[in-house]
Symmetry: C2
Subunit: 550 residues, 2 copies
C-alpha cells in the first residue's frame, strides 16, 4: 500500500486555509500514486484550539469545513484527517461534549473511524477540558484498500509500558488495534517539539513496530503556534527499517510503500542544534500570524539581546530587524560598542537613545515623593522601565514586534524588571538556560563572528548600578543552571539537589526561594517559545503559596 | 448526631498553619459537644495547590502533616478532612498519581475513607492534571458514631441531573452513597464564589436533601487565594429545613444536630452586593499573602480608579492606601479635582505628579526615531506608560502593592495600554463590567458620597488625546456590556447575539474582532479577582488564531 505522509502546517481557526491545504496535498498525493493520505491531528481546525472548542460558532464552522473537505478531496483517494466529533452521549450519559477524532474521507463521504483514548493533561496540555476519552480503541480499525488499518491519535501512541518502563494510562490503544487485527497502524499527531523529542519519538515508534510486527505510520503537525513549535518529523517504520528520512521544521509530502523493503534510509534526524530551527520557526510564525513583518530588540551589548537579534535575523531577514541601544550612566564603555558591532555583523540598523536625560527627568518628577530616600531597587528598575517604554514607543510608532531578550535562568530567579526588560510580544529565548544561550551563540559563530565574541566572553551584568555583576548575588551560571533545571523542570527536592550537585543545601534553598518569590513576574511574562519539556506556560504554580523546603 | 461545620481559611503550602488551624477548630468543636467535625476539601495542603502536587517534597510534607494532624486532634472526636492520597495503582495500572481524598482522623488513627470521583476541568479548574477520578464512590460510606456517613468531595455534589436538567458526568456520587446506605451525606468543598453561586449552591443542596431524604452537610473553604475567592457559605440541609444560617466570607464553626428539627432558620444568604465582600476579601488576602500592607492606586479622577481606591480602603484601611494623580496636558480640568475629592472623601493621601515634563523629555529622547511622523497611538500609549512607570517607582520605593484599575469592558476590547495602565500586582475590578462598576460605586455612596458623584456621572474617557470619549469608538456601556458578556462569558455566536440584543451584526462582529485582537494584552494582564463564572484566567483562548465570525 502506498501511503502519503502529509506533514502540513495548519492555522488555528483558519478553516478555509486548512481545507485548501489538505485538498492541495491530497491532490498531489493522488498524482503521486498514493492509495491513502494521512494528515495530522485536528488538521481541520488547527492545534491547539483551546477554548474555541467551547464556541458553538467555531464548532459549526468546523463541521461545515469537514463536510466541504469530504467533497473536495479526490473521491478515489482515502484520506485520514484529524477532526472534532460531537460526543453523542454527553448530555444524557454525562461526559465532555467532544471527541478528538479521525475522519476517513472517501468517495465524497465523511466517516469518523477513530477517536482518541489517551488525553494528555500534563505540561501545556489540557485536553480533558474539552474531550471525552474514548474507551473502545479496539474499534479504531478500518479497512482501506484491502488493508486493516489501525488508527490512533498522538498520545494514544505514548503508553507502551515495555518502552517507558511504566504505564501512564490504563489502556494501550496501539496494542488494542493490533489485537483487533490491524495490519498497519497510523498515528495522527500534533506533538510539539522539545529538546530531544524527535529522537525519543523515533525510538518509541521503532519499538512499537518491532514489538507488534506491523508497520507504523506516524504523521505529525509542523509549524509554529505561538509558544508551541511542531517539528513534523513524520515517520514510517517497520521492524526491518524505515521508509523515509524524517523532515524537520518544514512541510513535506512523503510517499511510502508498505510492500517494499524498508531498510535503506538511515534512521537519523537532522543535525543539532534543533533549538535554532525551533526558535527561528517560532519567531517567523508569530510575526506572520500577527502580521508584524519587523522585529525590534533592545541591544544592551550583552549576550542575550545579541542572540535574540541574531535569531530574529535568521527568521525575518536583516532588513526586518532593528535594534536600539539605550546606554545609561552605569553602562560600561563596551556596551554600545558591542551593540554596534553586533548590528554591523548582522547587517541590522541600530539606533542610539541615551536614557540619562530621561532618568534625570524622572528623578525630578519623583522628587516630591522620593525626598530623603537612598537610591536602591526603585532607581534600578526605573532605568529598565525607561528602556522598556522607549522600545514600546518605537514598536508602536513603526509597527515592530518587540522581542523580549530574557533567558530562562534570569526569569527563573526573577532577575528582570516587570514592565521593563520583560516588555515584549514574544520571548524567543526565555526557555533557554544561560549556558544554552552561550552554546547557541558560539554555534552561530561557527563560520565567523556574528555575535561579538566580547558579548560572549564578558562577565554577565545587568548594568543597573556601578560595577554590578550577576555573580554578585548568584553562583556562576555553569553551577547555577543545573540546579535551576532540577528545581524548575524536574521539581526535585532541595536536599536531593544538594546531594546530586554538591551545591550547599542552604544555597539551593535560597535559589528555590527566589524562584518562588518571582512567580508573580512570570505570571505577566510574554509568551515564551517552548524549548524544554517544562517551559513557563507548562508550569502551573500558585502565584502565592507558603511551602518552604529547607 | 452533633456535627461541627468547620469553615476555615487555609493557605496553600502552609502545612504548619493549616494543621494548627484544624487542631484549634477541632478542639473547639469537641468542647462544644460535637460528635463529628468536618473540614473543607484539601484542607491539609490548601487549595488550589496546582503544580506543587507534582513536587515530591510537597507531597512528603503533606503526608507528614496529615500524620501529625491525626495525632494532634482530640482522639475521641472523629474528624473528616480533605487531603491528598497516592494512587497505589498509578504505576502499574496507569492513571494519575494522586487521589483528591478525605481522611477520617479518629483515636489517633488516619484512614482514607473517600476519594473524589468528579474532577472539574472547565473554567479555572484542571484537576485531571493531578488526580485520578475515583470509580467506586459507593465505597465512600463510613460508620461514625453509629451513623452511616456518605462522604463526597465538592464537584461530586454537582451532577444531579434532576436539578441541572442534564448530566455533566457519568456518575452521581451522591446517589451512589445514598444507595449504599448513607444516612447522612457530607460534602467537603473548595468551591470558589462567583456571582449568584451562593444561591445556586444552596438550591442544589436543598434539592439533594429533598430528593434523597437524608441530611446534607456541606462544608466549604473560605478566604482568598490570589484570584479565587472562597465564600464559605457552609450549609446543613434536610428536606424539612436548614439548621444554620450560612456565614459568608468569614471563618465559622457551626454546630448542627441532625436529630433536632431543622426549620427555624431562614434559608437566605447575605444581602448583596456580594461583589463587594469578595473583592475586599481578595485585596486583603493578596496583601497579607505577599506581605504588602499598603496599596497604591493611580487616580485619574475617573470611576474605575475611584472604585478601586474605595475597595482598597475597605480592605486595608485608609491609612494604608495612597493615590497618585498624574495629570497631562490632555487631562480635563476636573480630573485632578475629582481625584482630590475622592482622596478627601476616603481619607487617603493623594500625591500629584504632573507628567508633562516627562512627556516632553520622551519627545526629545525619541526625536531621532520619531522625526517626520504624526502623533498617534504611540504618543497616547507613551502617556500611559509614563504613568505606569511613576506608579511602579513609588510602589518599589515605598513598598506598596500597585492595584490595576481596569474593568472587564475595557480589558475585553483592549482599551488599555500594556506596561501602562495595566501595570499592577492585582486587578481588583477587572472582572466587573463597566455597568457593574457604576452600580457598585453607587452602592458605596448609599450613606453619603465616598466616590465623587462627578466621577460616576461624567462620560468615560481615557484622556489620552483632546476631547477623547470612550463612546467615540464604542457603543454606550449599557448596550456594550450585555454584548461583551455574551461574547466573552458565554461564547454565543455573533449572529445570535445580534438577534438577542438588537445590536447590528457587523457591530457585534467588530467587537468580537477587538476581543480577539487584544488577547495578547490579557496574556500579560495581572491576576484578576474572580467575580463572574468566566473570569480572564478561566478563559483559555489562543493568543493568535484566525477564526472569524461574520
Amino acid at each position: 500500500m502506498k501511503i502519503a505522509l502529509c506533514q502540513i502546517d495548519t492555522t488555528v481557526g483558519d478553516f478555509a486555509g486548512n481545507v485548501a491545504k489538505v485538498v492541495a496535498f491530497a491532490a498531489r498525493a493522488r498524482s503521486l500514486g498514493a492509495e491513502l493520505a494521512v494528515f495530522p491531528e485536528l488538521a481541520v481546525c488547527g492545534y491547539p484550539p483551546e477554548d474555541l472548542l467551547t464556541s458553538r460558532a467555531f464548532l459549526a464552522a468546523h463541521d461545515h469545513a469537514l463536510q466541504e473537505l469530504g467533497a473536495a478531496v479526490p473521491a478515489d483517494l482515502p484520506v485520514l484527517v484529524g477532526c472534532v466529533e460531537r460526543n453523542p452521549s454527553a448530555a444524557q450519559g454525562g461526559g465532555r461534549p467532544l471527541h478528538n477524532a479521525v475522519a476517513l474521507l472517501h468517495g465524497g463521504e465523511v466517516r469518523i473511524v477513530a477517536r482518541k483514548s489517551l488525553l494528555p493533561t500534563y505540561d501545556v496540555f489540557d485536553e480533558s477540558r474539552y474531550f471525552e476519552p474514548w474507551q473502545r480503541p479496539q474499534e479504531n480499525v478500518v479497512a482501506i484498500a484491502g488493508t486493516r488499518v489501525g488508527v490512533v491519535v498522538c498520545e494514544d501512541g505514548w503508553n507502551d509500558e515495555r518502552f517507558f518502563g511504566e504505564r501512564h494510562y490504563a489502556l494501550d490503544p496501539v496494542e488494542r488495534v493490533v489485537a483487533a487485527g490491524a495490519q498497519l497502524v497510523v498515528n495522527l499527531s500534533a506533538s510539539p517539539w522539545s529538546l530531544g523529542k524527535e529522537t525519543l519519538r523515533q525510538r518509541m515508534v521503532e519499538a512499537a513496530a518491532a514489538r507488534h510486527g506491523v508497520p507504523m505510520i506516524y504523521v505529525n503537525l509542523v509549524g509554529g503556534d505561538v509558544e508551541l513549535q511542531f517539528d513534523g518529523g513524520s515517520l514510517a517504520v517497520k521492524a526491518t527499517g524505515v521508509a523515509c528520512q524524517p523532515v524537520l521544521f518544514a512541510e513535506a509530502l512523503q510517499i511510502v510503500d508498505t510492500d517494499a523493503p524498508w531498510n535503506e534510509v538511515p534512521p537519523t534526524c537532522a543535525a543539532p542544534p534543533m533549538h535554532h530551527a525551533a526558535i527561528v520557526q517560532g519567531i517567523r510564525a508569530y510575526a506572520e500570524k500577527f502580521g508584524f513583518p519587523r522585529a525590534l530588540i533592545g541591544l544592551s551589548g550583552g549576550i542575550d539581546s545579541a542572540l535574540t537579534a541574531a535569531l530574529a535575523v535568521d527568521a525575518l531577514g536583516a532588513a526586518n530587524v532593528a535594534g536600539i541601544a539605550m546606554p545609561s550612566a552605569h553602562s560600561s564603555g563596551h556596551s554600545v560598542a558591542d551593540a554596534l558591532q553586533l548590528a554591523d555583523n548582522l547587517g541590522i540598523v541600530c539606533h542610539q537613545l541615551p536614557i540619562e536625560p530621561l532618568r534625570v527627568a524622572f528623578e525630578q518628577a519623583l522628587a516630591p515623593v522620593f525626598a530623603g530616600t537612598e537610591p536602591g531597587l526603585a532607581e534600578e528598575n526605573l532605568q529598565a522601565r525607561i528602556r522598556g517604554t522607549l522600545l514600546m514607543a518605537y514598536a508602536n510608532k513603526h509597527g515592530h514586534l518587540l522581542l523580549t531578550t530574557g533567558n530562562k535562568s534570569e526569569s527563573a530567579v526573577g532577575y528582570c524588571t516587570l514592565y521593563g526588560d520583560t516588555n515584549g510580544a514574544l520571548a524567543p529565548i526565555a526557555d533557554l538556560w544561560k549556558t544554552e544561550v552561550w552554546a547557541l551563540s558560539r554555534w552561530l559563530n561557527r563560520d565567523g563572528e556574528r555575535i561579538p565574541w566580547n558579548s560572549i566572553e564578558k562577565p554577565p551584568s545587568a548594568e543597573l548600578r556601578p560595577d554590578q555583576l550577576d555573580t554578585d548575588s548568584l553562583p556562576p551560571y555553569p553551577e547555577l543552571d543545573p540546579v535551576l533545571r532540577l528545581l524548575v523542570e524536574e521539581q526535585v527536592p532541595v536536599a536531593e539537589i544538594a546531594l546530586r550537585t554538591g551545591m550547599a543545601r542552604e544555597v539551593v534553598a535560597e535559589l528555590q526561594r527566589k524562584v518562588q518569590a518571582s512567580e508573580f513576574k512570570r505570571y505577566q511574562y510574554p509568551p515564551t517559545l517552548r524549548v524544554s519539556e517544562r517551559c513557563w506556560s507548562g508550569r502551573r504554580m500558585p502565584v502565592s503559596h507558603r511551602f518552604r523546603e529547607r
